[in-house]
Amino acid sequence: MANMTFIWAVVGVVAYIILAPFVGGLLAGFDRKFTAHMQGRKGPPVLQPFFDVSKLLKKEITVVNKGQRFLVVCFLLFIVITGCLFFAGLDLLMCFFALTTAAIFLVLAAYSAHSAYSHMGAQRELLQMLCYEPIILLIAVGFYVATDSFAVTGILHGTVSPIVWLPLLFIAFVMILPAKLGKSPFDISTSHHAHQEIVKGVTTELAGGNLAMVEIAHWYEDVFLLGVIFLFIANMNHWWTIILGVIVCLVVYFIQTLIDNTCARVKWNEMLRFTWLVAIALGVTNVILVYYLR
């Protein structure tokens, strides 16, 4: 049994490292296609994100300082570690800590350049973290009170799907997801769209290969975040929940695109007010209820 879990963990990690960029890139491609159709345009080919990254890798690398490249590499590395921990079925808390560390590296990379826009993006990224980090932590706590386990495998082998106990927390997570995916209304630090009032926020000073690394990291990150969505739904004792989980992931991603196209970017204080008053309130209520009812 112990051997089996180990094999599955290795399979999960290898699959994640190899497949996640493709899945993430394709999702980004479909996202752009849907966005274009919602705006009455034809849009780029689905493979466009891959073309973009391959072009970025061919550009001259203009680094503003040596440290920046190191920080960007760390950002990518920690995102990959986050996903690996998750798909190996290990501790969810560890995943979230690695995720936060990764985000901090991106902020540091932005701060390392002497650029007003880059700095502004970094500050806003920190504000965004202030908004979504509590929810992320609540998710770990929520999973624990609902399934008595912090480990991904433990959660998957619970008696019922966690969503049964954590519907409000799920909604709260979907609410803060735009901040993580760089989508409106919470894309204040950097938008995945081309134009923004602070040029490109955190990625303003990153060019060529460095920007490509950030893009790839985002693909990895997107797959990890969808993995968390999947974890809400899936339960190994009922095979159909696995299919349902994948469907829910795709639906949530589509809803994010829809929200992105129908909402304007909000100011940071509105984002803070909304996430703390609505999303965190939902999450906390949910956790307290489960704690006493279960």
Partner: protein, 144 residues
């Protein structure tokens, strides 16, 4: 690996245009022309841009800005001058503060004439620019 020309990111700078050409540049992004079909993105960041679209003539005030934007773009890069003003100064040529076309300050690869340049010819100019972009990339590879 995909070709470098499949993902041209554009930066648009208004040197001293009358805004006629700028409106036409922006028109290219609308559903009717939809340049994103070709992977073209209108970015506001020189460090992310492959193609610099300049409208209007260069004047004494902004020649430094134009130079700086050009220098901040990573190689390979292409400059497309949009409208007759950007090509040679156009109707503003005689003004006391106007230096003339964009090529007085930075090297221009493609000239798109017209007053204002039509969206079709702008898209055409950018596509011509892609050819130049590819050549420059090849040259870069040989050097490396």
């Amino acid at each position: 690996m995909a070709d470098i020309t499949k993902s041209p990111w554009i930066m648009h700078y208004d040197a001293s245009s009358c805004n006629g050409c700028d409106i036409e540049v922006l028109a290219c992004l609308t559903p009717l022309y939809d340049v994103e079909r070709f992977g073209i993105i209108n970015t506001g960041n020189p460090k992310h841009a492959d193609i610099l679209l300049i409208t209007g003539s260069v004047n004494t005030q902004n020649q430094e800005v134009v130079k700086q934007l050009y220098e901040q773009m990573p190689e390979p890069k292409v400059v497309v001058a949009i409208g007759i003003c950007a090509c040679n100064g156009g109707v503003f040529k005689e003004c006391y503060n106007v230096l003339g076309g964009v090529d007085k300050v930075i090297p221009v690869d493609v000239y798109v004439p017209g007053c204002a340049a039509r969206p079709q010819s702008i898209v055409d100019g950018v596509v011509k620019g892609l050819g130049v972009l590819k050549e420059k990339r090849e040259a870069m590879k040989k050097k490396a």
